[in-house]
């Protein structure tokens, strides 16, 4: 193989690259397909041939889940929690990143280090005392009890990604804005917010997916089924209907669709943002 490589480097391995790419995609996607297709089978089909294709295809499991109040309630909770957490993280994160990137003051370094160190505090380490704080605020079994801590825990990543973006805005633009009579806050809203959009979109998407998939915090904070988010719902459903595998698979596939659709739409922006952050 290495002989052909040396002879014609620009044409190297095209078929080989396709082969490996297909293999890799197969490994990544097959389990997901198994979940989705599994939802179209009956339980007896699953127990007689766990790896076979549905024969016949049945849609009853999916229809049952789509008709269930539980699923849509949990879906709505997830949407509320993810949207509120994302907006909160982005707005607060953008404000503080602007200060860290473009103002000079005494505790700037310490402040940045504090947020950066936050990357080392995963939620699971702080979960017991965090639960106590949430309980003291009377937010147990309340969606706010998930949203507010999620915003706080989302800030470190947001700050780390946004500060390089905001610092890259040329000083001249700011000076020009000042000459035109714009205040620094005016500059913030008119120039900084639009110019940092790629970074904002990236942290927004990361925040949304992170919140959509969060498990530990809802596990501690939410205890009535009416307040469950989808990850809790999936777990509750799979233990409640543990004998009804086909239905569990249908529920699981419907629960993962939104995050995947969301990601497919924004894929380019995520990768772009990550590049910026890594180079920063």
């Amino acid at each position: 193989m290495s002989a052909t490589i040396a002879n014609k480097p620009q044409k190297w391995g095209s078929p080989f690259a396709y082969f490996v790419a297909l293999l890799f995609i197969g490994v990544c996607v097959a389990p997901v397909l198994y979940i989705v297709i599994g939802g179209f089978r009956t339980n007896s089909q699953i127990s007689t041939g766990p790896a076979a294709l549905p024969d016949p295809w049945v849609v009853g499991n999916y229809i049952a889940v789509l008709k269930s109040v539980t699923f849509w309630g949990e879906f709505a909770n997830s949407v509320v929690v993810a949207l509120a957490s994302t907006v909160g993280t982005v707005v607060l994160g953008l404000m503080v990143s602007f200060v860290l990137a473009r103002y000079d003051f005494r505790f700037k370094g310490a402040m940045y280090s504090l947020f950066a160190a936050g990357l080392m505090f995963p939620m699971v380490i702080a979960i017991t005392p965090l639960y106590i704080v949430i309980k003291d605020l009377g937010l147990v079994d309340n969606l706010l009890g998930v949203i507010v801590p999620q915003i706080a825990f989302g800030l470190p990543t947001t700050v780390i990604i946004l500060v390089p973006f905001l610092r890259a805005i040329p000083k001249e633009i700011e000076e020009a804005a000042a000459i035109d009579g714009s205040s620094r806050l005016g500059f913030f809203f008119r120039m900084v917010v639009p110019l940092s959009r790629p970074g904002v979109v990236t942290v927004g998407i990361l925040g949304f997916i992170g919140s959509w998939n969060n498990y530990v915090l809802p596990l501690y904070v939410l205890n009535s089924q009416a307040n469950f988010t989808l990850p809790l719902g999936v777990q509750a459903f799979s233990s409640q209907y543990s004998v009804d595998t086909a239905k569990v698979l249908a529920f699981t596939s419907l629960a993962m669709l939104p995050a995947m659709a969301f990601f497919a739409i924004f894929e380019k922006k995520i990768v772009g943002g990550l590049t910026g952050a890594v180079k920063g």
């Binding site: 290495s2 490589i5 040396a6 480097p9 391995g13 095209s14 396709y18 490996v20 995609i25 990544c28 389990p31 997901v32 979940i35 599994g38 766990p50 790896a51 607060l92 404000m95 503080v96 602007f98 200060v99 103002y103 700037k108 370094g109 402040m111 940045y112 280090s113 950066a116 160190a117 990357l119 505090f121 995963p122 699971v124 380490i125 702080a126 017991t128 005392p129 106590i132 704080v133 915003i151 706080a152 700050v159 997916i209 959509w212 998939n213 498990y215 501690y220 989808l230 990850p231 809790l232 777990q235 799979s238 569990v248 699981t252 993962m256 995050a259 990601f263 894929e267 995520i270 890594v278």
Partner: protein, 296 residues
């Protein structure tokens, strides 16, 4: 100007202090007590919880598992991700579709990944059935409950879930390397492998080092997947328990909140020390101390 700084940074700082820093400090405080979670902690035991951790065989075991998961994650995913990224960085059709598809496992939540894999890996599940059908029936196994296998099963699931993120990160890194360098080397007669080894890999260094950092921190704090698939009690006997699982098993499930908090503090200290050492000696060239020395 001070007013602007206060208005813009105040809310974020308050939130961060109240819901991140304060709970972590509170964990450190509870770690000095024998406390079962109700009422204010009164039974001060000083460093006893920490002494207990040092001699607790169960903790040594979860520490060993965590360390193994950390090393195996780096060794399995790193070379694989670099190789795949090099391959996918060529001009092949459908690159953006490929990128979306390999990111799918990363986007799905740990709960769904865990639920799906535990169904597929059951003794009479899809994986064993498939092995039988393709003539590899002798490979059928108790993937989840055999203590000799369970940790490797976990590593398989971890690699499947997180490799896409590593590849995407490496691809992003590769795209920032100018084509002119390898074109020039090509003209000078360098082979494909020489170009990758002498030019591409060194320039990909910063990306690899940042990925490794994220992977290390993630491994030290692994919780969701193990908790969903095995649960805190089974994870102990199957040999997949991690520090975070043991912490929750002691705290929330057994009611030893003081001991659980001490474990949380130890976890945090280990993460912090590893992160600081890594930054001091590995990331120094890439970040110019961004995380430790502040923005300037």
């Amino acid at each position: 100007m001070r007013f602007e700084i206060a208005v813009l940074s105040g809310p974020a700082i308050l939130m961060f202090l109240a819901f991140v820093i304060f709970p972590v400090a509170l964990a450190a405080f509870y770690g000095f007590y024998r406390w079962h979670g109700y009422g204010a902690p009164t039974d001060w035991v000083g460093l006893n919880n920490y002494k207990l951790i040092l001699t607790d065989p169960a903790f040594q075991q979860v520490l060993w598992h965590t360390g193994l998961i950390l090393v195996l994650s780096l060794v399995i995913q790193g070379p694989l991700a670099v190789g795949l990224a090099l391959l996918l960085n060529q001009k092949i059709r459908g690159r953006s579709v490929i990128r979306i598809l390999i990111f799918v496992p990363y986007v799905i939540s740990e709960v769904i990944v865990g639920t799906a894999w535990s169904l597929m890996l059951q003794t009479n599940g899809a994986v064993n059935d498939l092995l039988g059908h393709v003539g590899l029936g002798f490979l059928k196994a108790d993937w989840l409950s055999d203590p000799k296998l369970a940790l490797w099963t976990l590593m398989g699931i971890i690699s499947w879930k997180y490799i896409g993120f590593a590849v995407i990160l490496m691809l992003a890194g590769l795209q920032s390397i100018p084509d002119e360098l390898s074109e020039a080397a090509q003209i000078d007669g360098a082979s494909y492998w020489q170009i990758q080894r002498r030019i591409t890999l060194p320039l990909l260094g910063p990306t690899i080092r940042i990925w490794a950092f994220l992977s290390i921190i993630g491994s030290l704090q692994l919780f969701d997947l193990v908790y969903i698939i095995w649960g805190p009690y089974v994870a102990g006997t199957a040999g997949t328990s991690t520090m975070a699982i043991y912490m929750v098993a002691q705290g929330r499930n057994a009611g030893n909140y003081g001991y659980g908090s001490a474990i949380a503090v130890v976890m945090f200290l280990i993460s912090l020390v590893v992160a600081l050492i890594y930054q001091r000696f590995v990331l120094r060239r890439d970040l110019q101390g961004a995380v430790t020395e502040g923005a300037s």
